[in-house]
């Protein structure tokens, strides 16, 4: 499976009369976001008299975004525009995985384990990673972070796994 976006343009699932798929889909998604925001703020109080309620401004902006998204989609429909660029899966997947792993394990496992493991997970995001080199750099970086953040900068941060400390 290849993840380079430079492959031949992906076959569009959109009908032919959509002339600028990139803008069309972009506009539709913006409209969806706006509708979601309208739904999410529907329980908030609106205008009472001439003063704003908590829900007034969010709904105002949501309606505005709905209109703008519609306009962007319409432009995409009527004007020739670029196709949707191909997404690669490898970079986003492993970088996200590294971030989520970091968030989940920083409290229980501490900075040292977390930083190193996240580094290695993130490194999977590129095909060009050389493992020996990456391990060495990862170890050095972890050491640097372990010294810099808690000691030099005085930020409170767990260092080692909880079960080891106890």
């Amino acid at each position: 499976m290849s993840d380079t976006p430079s492959e031949a343009p992906v076959k569009s699932i959109l009908p032919k009369w959509v002339r600028g798929p990139q803008d069309f889909v972009g506009g539709l998604v913006m409209m969806a976001v706006a509708l979601f925001a309208l739904w999410a703020s529907s329980d908030l109080q609106g205008m009472h008299g001439f003063s704003f309620g908590a829900g007034t401004a969010p709904r105002m902006f949501a309606v505005l975004l709905l209109l703008l998204g519609g306009a962007v989609a319409l432009m995409g429909l009527l004007n020739d525009g670029p196709h949707i660029a191909a997404y690669s899966w490898r970079g986003p997947l492993f970088v996200s995985a590294a971030i989520v792993f970091f968030a989940v394990s920083i409290r229980p496992l501490g900075l040292v384990v977390t930083a190193f493991a996240s580094f290695m997970i993130a490194a999977l995001g590129s095909e060009e990673t050389k493992w020996l080199e990456t391990t060495i750099v990862g170890a050095c970086l972890t050491l640097g972070c372990a010294l810099l953040f808690p000691y030099v900068l005085g930020l409170p941060m767990p260092m080692f796994p909880r079960f080891l400390v106890q």
Partner: protein, 504 residues
């Protein structure tokens, strides 16, 4: 006379050993970041915010300011030597700067960039000092209606000057405004769109979103292109830093023009260093006797944009310090830094925190001097840094960003949110939506809502208040005029031309 007294006071503050050290560290870190491609100023300032938590407020802000203008310097170095702009502000510098380097004139190009930046920095420092007090007085005449109109103008500016579709840029701003609504309502305390997630009760952190759409999204996007970027390094040794007399006479007027243009664009909300450098380059090309020299190593093409971006980087502090309105995303992060130290930016800061304001202004001049002294000898080291392959750099940036976000609130959820915004940012890039207006909208959202509410409350629900108050009406008229200009086909064509050239 008050001006000199104020400046003297500022220098007294800025020259204390600890503040000098902060200034030096900030300038060095900024240059380092500016040199490294793939990590922008916004992500860096966001990443380094936690570092300044433990410092006294003055030192913290001096350091953050140093990072900001240091990055402008560093970006130019890589533009010239490697043809990789480290910062968006140096994209145009690469056009002629790198050509000069190929002709063996890297030394003069670097020197002119540094001299231009220093000159612009000096002028901008004086400008901040001179304009600070009168603008603060003007700010006192501003009611909620004027504030709201000014912010509308700023957002429109950002739209007009953003790259690509005007419609999409406005959509991004509104998306940002909508995101800023998440969290507690300031007046009623009602929880809005937070879905009972306790971490969202305070709203989406600005640093979190910034790190997501500018830090993580940028990394993911770079990985698309393959981690190994081609690096067209100028291998020959850099000899003869000194520009010739002809270089100096050629570039002196360009530096002055760039400085003026940059200073003006920096003050306007929504403007900023990126636009300033593009505009300055276009101006030079327009007024040059022989425009064909541009792109082939014209020294004016280096001098003017470099002066402009530095001037704009500094004058963008003016609206922040006087009106309390952050004109761009980096300034919004500075607001965050100030808030953490219990300082509310706005007209009162000048009076209540003279140490902070004047100390920071004076430190900018000192910082610029430091940069010119340290940067030229350090060029070799910066270039060597570029040899660090991206495959090692990107996981490191991921980790630094993650630690940075985590330490802002000690909240793991923030890290996940930033990751989510990274994916959103990646999607936005794929659909050609600019993330910068989104961030500006997010910054100005709460301020706009508050002032809109207040204005309407004072006018008893009468919307015409925005047009009946003269100052507000003028601001809105300018905004409307700009928007009309932006959609007019002739200007659009020209505007696109500028951006196309710069990307070539």
């Amino acid at each position: 006379m008050e001006l000199f007294a104020n400046l003297a006071h500022g220098f007294a503050v800025a020259l204390s050993p600890i503040n000098l050290l902060m200034c030096l560290i900030g300038a060095l870190v900024g240059t380092l970041v500016g040199v490294l491609p793939g990590i922008g100023t916004i992500a860096t300032v966001a990443m380094l915010l936690p570092i300044t938590f433990g410092l006294p407020p003055v030192g913290a802000l001096i350091m953050l300011a140093g990072i900001y203008y240091g990055a402008q310097y560093g970006g130019s170095t890589t533009s010239i030597l490697v043809n990789i702009p480290g910062e968006a502000t140096s994209v145009v510098t690469a056009l002629d700067g790198h050509q000069m380097a190929r002709q063996g004139r890297a030394g003069p190009a670097l020197a002119i960039a540094a001299i231009g930046s220093f000159f612009a920095g000096c002028v901008a420092t004086v400008l901040i000092a001179v304009l600070g007090a009168p603008l603060t007085k003007l700010a006192l005449a501003f009611g909620p209606a004027e504030y709201f109109s000014l912010m509308v103008l700023g957002l429109i500016f950002a739209v007009v000057l953003a790259k690509g579709s005007v419609l999409k840029a406005i959509a991004m701003i509104v998306f940002g405004l909508l995101l800023s609504m998440v969290g507690s309502d300031i007046e009623t305390g009602a929880s809005r769109m937070a879905f009972n997630i306790p971490e969202l009760a305070d709203g989406l952190g600005f640093a979190t979103v910034a790190m997501g759409v500018f830090g993580f999204a940028e990394i993911i996007r770079n990985l698309d292109a393959g981690a190994e970027m081609s690096r067209d390094l100028v291998q020959q040794k850099i000899t003869g830093l000194m520009p010739t007399r002809k270089d100096l006479t050629d570039s002196a007027p360009a530096i002055v023009r760039g400085t003026i243009l940059g200073s003006i664009l920096g003050i306007l909300p929504g403007g900023g260093a990126v636009i300033a450098s593009f505009a300055a380059y276009t101006l030079e090309k327009k007024i040059a006797k022989d425009p064909s020299r541009f792109g082939r190593g014209a020294i004016e093409g280096v001098a003017s944009p470099e002066s402009a971006n530095n001037a704009a980087a500094q004058t963008s502090f003016i609206p922040l310090l006087t009106l309390g309105i952050p004109p761009n995303a980096v300034m919004a992060l500075m607001v965050g830094a100030m808030t953490i130290h219990g300082i509310v930016p706005g007209p009162q800061v000048m009076v209540k925190q003279p140490d902070l304001v004047w100390g920071m202004i004076a430190s900018m001049w000192i910082g610029n001097l430091m940069l010119i002294i340290i940067n030229l000898p350090l060029v070799g080291i910066w270039v060597r840094l570029l040899r660090v392959p991206y495959r090692l750099m990107f996981p490191s940036i991921v980790i630094f960003c993650a630690i940075g976000i985590y330490s802002v609130n000690n909240a793991p959820v923030d890290v996940v949110l930033a990751g989510a915004f990274g994916l959103i940012g990646y999607w936005l890039i794929k659909h050609d939506f600019e993330p910068a207006p989104l961030l500006l909208g997010m910054v100005l959202g709460p301020l706009m809502e508050e002032n809109l509410r207040r204005a309407l409350l004072i006018s008893r629900g009468d919307w015409s208040v925005f047009l009946s108050r003269p100052l507000s009406a003028v601001l809105l008229a300018i905004a409307a005029g700009l928007l009309v200009l932006a959609v007019l086909p002739t200007l659009r064509a020209k505007r696109d031309e500028v951006f196309v050239e710069s990307e070539g």
